[in-house]
């Protein structure tokens, strides 16, 4: 579906009357703004938007949206959203998660939702910490991080959200950052337009418990050198002068500078988000500073049958082929006998 503007909504139409209660300086404010900016661009009726969340700071999100909203229980948002979408496929279903909600208590629902490819958008706020329970490490916290529950440092190995998405055969994965409102809004629009489960990871800052965890990517001094903004069909260039890029040597990716060691623009990889083969997407997902820039934008967007469409298809086929059209007919079908 192309981006259309058949509705006259503005950002304000999507703000609820509730006071926003995140901590001052929290990255969630910027994400809320970006989603409220993105929705008027989708050309859909307001009553068709549903925001579903689990538990955590991020999960308060639906209260601040003037749409249908359902703040549910910890980790189960994808399962509830699955039922909502299957029950009414006309809805535009958005599911908001934090890294703990999505990848710890709800990890199973997360991968199974992606595997099924129900047409919905999962926006995962990744601040690499538990905020609402006041500062324990999360499944994405880095090794060594000292938190309330790890006074001697984290010894768990962290998940990379995108790796799970690839492992679960995800059809759409994008990554963005809370410091770039335009990139966020553009990605949210693309996520909604994708048919299937769109997983958007937002690198988000928790100002209280894990401040500046993403600074190697997001800070002013790092952002040019450590952000790779991917566009389908465009070369993977980054740096202030766009003179650096990603090349492949053998099966490995390397960060290179054009003009050095004989590297030319022709050596720079072209991003193919639509490639069925997810091997390069996985390599892009795994890149991180200091060896590499962090890949942002739509990393993978491939066509795959959406589960809700398959459900509708089976139902239509059954209706066309099964002579039983109502309960009375079913009740009287098969082995029945009369007692006189």
């Amino acid at each position: 579906m192309a981006e259309t503007a058949t509705t006259n909504y503005t950002k304000k139409d999507f703000a609820s009357d509730q006071m926003v209660r995140w901590c001052p300086g929290c990255g969630d404010y910027a994400i809320l703004n970006a989603i409220q900016n993105a929705l008027p661009r989708l050309g859909r009726a307001k009553e068709d938007f549903v925001f579903i969340s689990g538990i955590g700071c991020a999960a308060r999100f639906p209260y601040y949206m003037n749409t249908y909203g359902f703040h549910t229980i910890h980790g189960r948002g994808p399962a509830i959203a699955t039922g909502t979408k299957l029950a009414n496929p006309k809805l535009s279903v958005w599911e908001i998660q934090g890294d703990g909600d999505a990848l710890a208590i709800g990890a199973s629902h997360f991968i199974h939702a992606i595997r099924r490819n129900v047409d919905m958008n999962i926006i995962m706020f990744n601040n690499e910490i538990y905020g609402l329970t006041k500062g324990q490490f999360s499944p994405t916290s880095r090794e060594g991080l000292v938190t309330k529950s790890t006074p001697f440092g984290v010894i768990d190995r962290p998940f990379v959200a995108g790796e799970l998405v690839i492992g679960a055969q995800g059809s759409f994965f994008a990554r963005t950052i809370d410091t770039n409102p335009k990139l966020m809004a553009d990605i949210f629009v693309k996520a909604e337009q994708h048919r299937g489960t769109s997983l958007v990871e937002v690198l988000q800052n928790c100002v209280i418990f894990n401040d500046k965890t993403h600074k190697a990517v997001t800070s002013k001094e790092n952002r040019d050198d450590f952000q790779l903004h991917l566009e389908h069909g465009e070369p993977m260039l980054f740096g202030k002068d766009k003179n650096r890029g990603i090349i492949r040597i053998g099966s490995q990716l390397k960060s290179a500078t054009i003009g050095e060691n004989g590297i030319t623009i022709d050596d720079i990889l072209i991003h193919d988000a639509h490639s069925e083969d997810n091997a390069l997407h996985l390599q892009l997902i795994k890149m991180h500073p200091p060896e590499f820039p962090m890949a942002l934008g739509v990393i993978r967007a491939v066509q795959a049958p959406a589960y809700n469409e398959l459900v509708d298809h089976q139902m239509a086929e059954a209706k066309a082929n099964n002579p039983i059209t109502n309960m009375d007919e079913l009740l009287n079908s098969g082995n029945v006998w009369n007692v006189n």
């Binding site: 009553e47 549903v50 549910t72 699955t82 009414n88 199973s108 629902h109 309960m327 006998w337 007692v339």
Partner: protein, 612 residues
């Protein structure tokens, strides 16, 4: 038949088939049942099978049984003791011999009584030769070898021959009871239509068994169980799980909404999923979820979106769903949760029946978390209560837990087919689209249920969730007074469901010296017990409950009339304790059984006789 010694006419007869779980005893038993039902007998069945799909052959663990009672009068249970037991091997004999009455007919496959099998079953000596079976009319039939001889002209492998021996056994039973083989022949033609040679093999084995029994006349008599006097009309056979599935579908059709069933496979509830997944043409959506929690959550998501959200499980799964059911309580969303109870705790006895999930259904969620709890009492009335669960959930905007059990789920009975037009309307109060100042927690003053508005309805956008709600507006509220008010409102809403359910019935003459009280799947045994006791001159009545939470309004009045009350249940007394909490000062005697098996009529009657 010229060579029959005698023909006995019986009002009721109980037959039990037992063999290895690969011997096809469930199929044999259900064929016998179906044929009898078509001939006009009333019937009730009880499959009794192991949790292991194929435990090692010949072992006690692998024995699968199927019991059926057929009668010319009303039959409410599969019967206490078998008049005829078919045992396909020594293990089946050993684990089922206590089910046969003294003097009953015992048919065994002697070919299976090898030294190895006799030892595997734990016998020191061959029970067919040591005199221990002298109390029974024993028919020693070389079933396996005769089946093999009968099928020797056919081009099939040994395995297929071996698998046909259950038809040989069925043939013997058809002769013994003078049954037509036609319904089974039709069944075989349909079942094996892709493999005609198997139709021929099974039919040959069936006839061989029939003619063998006719020829050897080894049993003292054949039997006739005349047709029952049952209400005229169109009938079908239905099992509890199928009836539950169809009741849910009937509820959805009545409301003109899609049925969404989120479920995770679990014994003995899975057949509901299998049944519902076959009916996509009627707008049924089934989701086999990744786990029990996702199953209930997807159902909540579907209810939230305006359809009929249903999930089902057995005890272990219900325990996992608790938090999500609490979410439906808090958000006051309709939801149906079916608990097909089995023996517990933990994994317990997966294939055996029990009634020990009453407490978890009524109380098994954190905090004050009231929900509607109802229970079905026969395989066929699972249809009525499946429908009723949908009706109550949507008329009262609340989760409804429907308790059935393994005995009801797998049991079956003939069922007079209902008509959709005779089922009640389901009255749902929707919010008005585009209404100004819509508040999600605006209540119907009579029922206290909130108005329903769901995504897609214009102008009614609102937020709900698991946090405490401010009365009316539904906004998040931590106000202490508001929390108490809302807690009481949620409880009062469930209490008022009593205005929308039938009064409790008492069966019997209403002036008994003792009131038997039961609930759920024990109905057949308890009803039979009071009927037989009444015939024997005792004054006993029965109050059998289908509505658990809330209880019918006249419950207290009924209890007051009796000086002796005996609560019978397949647990350690959960319903008795529940009643004692609501009606303090009333004395409840208890009769409990927790063996994974239903009550026998005999043991219920004995208990009553001891008390009167």
């Amino acid at each position: 038949m010229a060579n029959v010694k005698s023909l006995q006419e019986l009002d009721k007869v109980v037959i039990r088939f037992a063999g290895d779980s690969g011997d096809g005893m469930q199929l044999t038993g259900s064929q016998f049942t179906f044929t009898s039902a078509i001939l006009g007998n009333d019937v009730a069945t009880f499959p009794d099978f192991p949790a292991e799909i194929r435990a090692p052959q010949g072992t006690l663990e692998g024995v699968s049984g199927f019991q059926v009672q057929i009668g010319k009068t009303d039959v409410y249970t599969p019967g206490d003791r078998a008049d005829v037991l078919v045992a396909m091997n020594p293990a089946a004999l050993k684990s089922n011999i206590h089910w046969i009455r003294e003097g009953g007919n015992l048919i065994v496959d002697t070919d299976a009584f090898t030294e190895k099998n006799i030892a595997k079953a734990g016998y020191d000596e061959n029970p067919l030769e040591d005199g221990t079976l002298d109390h029974y009319n024993l028919l020693k039939a070389p079933i396996a070898s005769m089946t093999k001889t009968a099928l020797e002209d056919l081009d099939i492998d040994n395995k297929a021959v071996f698998r046909s021996k259950n038809m040989f056994a069925l043939g013997i039973m058809y002769w013994l009871f003078g049954r037509s083989m036609e319904p089974t022949e039709k069944f075989l033609e349909n079942k094996f239509k892709k493999a005609p040679v198997l139709i021929e093999a099974n039919k040959k084995a069936l006839y061989a068994g029939y003619f063998y029994a006719e020829t050897v006349e080894a049993l003292p008599s054949t039997y006739k169980v005349p047709a029952a006097k049952i209400e005229t009309g169109k009938y079908r056979h239905i099992s509890g799980n199928q009836a539950t599935a169809w009741g849910l579908m009937a509820g959805a059709e009545k409301m003109g909404r899609k049925l969404f069933y989120g479920s995770y496979p679990i014994t003995p509830a899975s057949d509901i999923l299998h049944e519902l997944s076959r009916h996509k043409q009627l707008g049924v959506i089934t989701l086999q979820a990744e786990d029990e929690i996702a199953a209930v959550c997807s159902a909540i998501g579907a209810s939230y979106a305006g359809q009929i959200g249903v999930t089902a499980s057995s005890g272990p799964g219900i325990a996992l769903k608790g938090e999500a059911i609490g979410l439906a309580v808090m958000t006051e969303l309709p939801l149906v949760i079916i608990d097909v109870q089995r023996g517990g705790p933990s994994t317990g006895l997966p294939t055996k029946t029990e009634q020990a999930d009453l407490n978890i259904a009524v109380f098994g969620r954190n905090s004050e978390s009231p929900a509607i709890v109802i229970a079905a009492s026969t395989p066929a009335d699972c249809f009525d209560f499946g429908f009723e669960a949908v009706r109550l959930a949507y008329e009262h905007m609340s989760p409804v837990l429907l308790l059935t059990d393994g005995y009801l789920a797998n049991g079956s009975e003939p069922w007079k087919i209902p008509s959709m037009k005779d089922l009640p309307e389901i009255k749902v109060k929707l919010a008005e689209e585009g209404s100004e100042n819509f508040h999600p927690y605006t209540r119907n003053p009579e029922t206290l249920s909130r108005l329903w508005a769901y995504p897609g309805m214009k102008g009614l956008e609102h937020r709900i969730g698991g946090l405490e709600k401010e009365d009316v507006s539904g906004n998040v509220s931590y106000d202490p007074e508001n929390h108490e008010k809302m807690t009481k409102l949620r409880a009062d809403k469930i209490a008022r469901v009593a205005n929308n359910i039938p009064e409790q019935k008492v069966e019997g003459n209403g002036d008994g010296d003792l009131l038997m009280v039961g609930w759920g799947g024990t109905y057949g045994a308890m009803l039979t017990a009071i009927k037989e006791l009444t015939e024997e001159g005792y004054k006993v009545d029965l109050a059998h409950f289908n509505y658990i939470s809330p209880l019918p309004k006249n419950t207290g009045e009924i209890l007051k009339k009796y000086s002796k009350i005996l609560v019978c249940e397949l647990n350690l007394g959960q319903f008795a304790s529940y009643l004692a909490g609501i009606y303090p000062g009333t004395t409840f005697e208890k009769f409990n059984k927790i063996q994974g098996q239903p009550f026998s009529v005999t043991e219920l009657k004995e208990k009553v006789k001891n008390l009167i």
